[in-house]
Symmetry: C3
Subunit: 139 residues, 3 copies
């Protein structure tokens, strides 16, 4: 058994979902693993991780709209407003989704379901460079 | 140290919580682990995972009701409606709970608290066969 | 490769966020790990885990307020009321945040982002002693 770590950088340009399943799979494939565990970790508190359906792009658009309604961008509701109207809402939306995901590697491939994709959920309007840390436990 | 993987299949018959703590514990017990880490992964985006109190069944009933109020089944709110009124709400309810859980094995047993149970949270009304992938890291 | 487990106990005195990043880092540092994976597991269903910004304390105060609005403490909404008006809301707030977090150890340190802190999110008003189980996979 062995471990490996890696970093993926994602350039975001506004709120929404950025799929990076292929980047993750490409790195895992290059490690030639039969059985293992991949951990995906987001080093930010105003962007987060979600596994969602990647067949119909309307799914993540609807999910983004839901989060906009659920966590209103109304600065009257928050103390933490110095970084802009979309900062505190970003922290809340991150807390309601994931900072980390672990995915088994089973029979030589990442055990994602047929329509599961791995997404960065960007909560800030301005462009950001997001860092995702990958950790692999492998046979 | 070693790894093992396994699959659990859960037949669901409508929305709600399906506890499968015993199935998980039975498999882990059969591996005779003193120290380890168990990862439970749900291969779906319209069903999810939750660790909740399993002493009083009213807890998961109230949690299901809360999620019904929070994520209204009103197709006027969503673009993704072709798969029925309970499909987009399923994706949102999944995103707000968990696709994956990792539980330490400490002193020979799964480190769940006294009243913690592991549940599949089914969000679709029609019967489904759900696949849960288990990954075990063991001494 | 090797494993280690540990427990951290947190005495809470009312609802809110209790940061324990330093306790986690101190234990990990004492293990002298270059590459690894740390799993933090909360053995409760009325307290949970969140990674959030620890630069401005207003962030977790605003997050606590949001959760108070989102999950109203109105016993008319719930069946499970025997343990007090803040018990069922605690279960719901736990389900919407995390029971478990896994954090890679990369280049000799826990791969938290610059402003990421690890918090226990206590949902009960009365004092509690909370148990957090740590599991470490290390080189």
């Amino acid at each position: 058994m062995r471990q490996a770590t890696h970093q993926i950088f994602i350039a975001t340009h506004g709120k929404g979902f950025y799929e990076f399943t292929r980047e993750v799979e490409a790195w895992v494939d290059a490690q030639h693993v039969q059985t293992g565990l991949l951990t995906v970790f987001c080093q930010h508190t105003s962007a987060s991780l979600v596994i969602q359906e990647n067949a119909d792009p309307d799914v993540v658009a609807d999910l983004a709209d839901f989060m906009t309604r659920l966590v209103p961008e109304d600065t009257g509701l928050y103390r933490h407003t110095a970084e802009g109207p979309d900062d505190m809402t970003s922290h809340i939306r991150s807390a309601l989704t994931q900072t980390q995901l672990s995915i088994p590697i089973h029979q030589g491939r990442l055990a994602l379901g047929t329509w599961q994709g791995v997404y960065l959920f960007e909560h800030r309007e301005r462009p950001h460079r997001r860092t995702i840390v990958l950790h692999l436990l492998a046979d």
